[in-house]
């Protein structure tokens, strides 16, 4: 597609937004490179390094860390730490322990009472109360043991969840590092093609670093797969056909 709309007074940014819109006029979604160099205007400036990385991605440049990155991301996706609820388990242990202390004192007191009554030969009621207290104490001991066990299980699960959280943090760092490496490699891989394009571009630029914004953008657009028309509002080519051929892309000339 090569369209010359220069007779209309259109805003390049607005046209680019329309071109890029998800529900826009084009069947294919523009690539990430389009964001960087899909709208070329006389005064433009942009992050050339980021644009190079995006350009390389559109050309499916592979890197030495692709596999490592994919498996790190995969592992990251699979990790779903489930944090167990340990508060209730702690509360249950604390309550059971308090109950236990209380009942131990009660048993000791009732044993004292029982002994005193026995000396007077009328220990029946005191004995029943004592035996009641012993039974309650035994139940409380069972409850305490169960509470402790439950807490231990909850804490083991919590520890496992913390292991997974730590692994997640490590993976996030690892993914960041690998992405950095991948980006550097992509930029290095695409650089010769971009430098060639800069030298081939209209004008007399000799390298990307010193080229003006539009020249750098044109060079990057030429080596990128954009999948959507370049919006071009600077007059570096005689007509839209020439521009399209050089950029190897569809062009909307403004």
């Amino acid at each position: 597609m090569r369209v010359d709309l220069s007779s209309y007074d259109l805003d390049p940014a607005a046209v680019a937004t329309t071109v890029r819109a998800a529900d826009g006029p084009f069947e294919l979604e523009p690539t990430a490179a389009h964001e960087h160099v899909g709208c070329i205007t006389p005064e433009m400036e942009f992050d050339r390094r980021a644009a190079m990385a995006a350009a390389a991605r559109t050309r499916d440049v592979t890197t030495t860390v692709d596999d490592a990155l994919a498996s790190a991301r995969e592992e990251r996706r699979e990790l779903e730490p489930i944090d167990p609820e340990t508060t209730d388990a702690r509360r249950r242990v604390a309550e059971a322990a308090a109950e236990l202390d209380e009942l131990r004192e009660e048993v000791a007191a009732k044993r004292g009472r029982l002994n005193a009554h026995r000396e007077h030969g009328d220990g029946n009621k005191a004995e029943a109360e004592y035996l009641d207290a012993v039974r309650s104490l035994s139940e409380a001991e069972t409850e305490y043991a169960a509470a402790v066990e439950q807490l231990e299980e909850a804490e083991a699960a919590a520890r496992k969840a913390r292991d997974e959280r730590e692994r997640q943090l490590q993976l996030v760092d690892r993914i960041d590092n690998l992405q950095r490496t991948a980006r550097e490699e992509r930029v290095d891989a695409i650089r010769p093609a971009v430098e060639d394009a800069v030298r081939a571009a209209p004008g007399d630029s000799t390298e990307l670093a010193t080229a003006d914004g539009p020249t750098a953008a044109m060079a990057l657009a030429r080596v990128s797969e954009l999948r959507a028309p370049v919006v071009l509002s600077c007059r570096r080519f005689s007509d839209v056909e020439t521009a399209g051929r050089w950029l190897d892309a569809s062009v909307i000339r403004l």
């Binding site: 702690r90 509360r91 242990v93 604390a94 309550e95 322990a97 308090a98 804490e155 520890r159 913390r162 730590e166």
Partner: protein
């Protein structure tokens, strides 16, 4: 668990080696400190580090923290209410003043 804290470069690198080799006994690595399992092996590793770096290795034994057993109800309530305070910028002292929440000084002077 056993908390092992190192206070020199060399102790730190010994700890790192120990952690790398004895993963099974290491519960958590925290920069220049680590938590070991509370087993004889954990103790053994801690003691070895202390033997090697007597002045720059601290070994502590940790206990599980149960706020319902170890902490007064007023402190738990203060923590909950303060974390749910309306204005993020209110310092605790101001927040507690004139309420039933304990004063910061009381908190500092009362041992668990």
């Amino acid at each position: 668990m056993l908390l092992v804290v190192t206070y020199s470069q060399s102790a730190r690198s010994s700890l790192r080696n120990v952690c790398r080799i004895h993963e099974g006994t290491v519960v958590r690595r925290l920069g220049r400190a680590a938590l070991f399992e509370e087993t004889e092996h954990g103790a053994f590793l801690g003691l070895r580090l202390r033997e090697k770096h007597p002045d720059s290795v601290q070994v502590e034994r940790t206990e599980p923290f149960n706020e319902f057993r170890d902490v007064d109800e007023s402190v738990r309530a203060a923590a909950i209410d303060y974390e749910n305070r309306e204005r993020e910028s209110t310092p605790y002292a101001k927040f507690a003043a004139g309420t039933s929440h304990p004063e910061p000084e009381t908190l500092k002077q009362t041992e668990l």
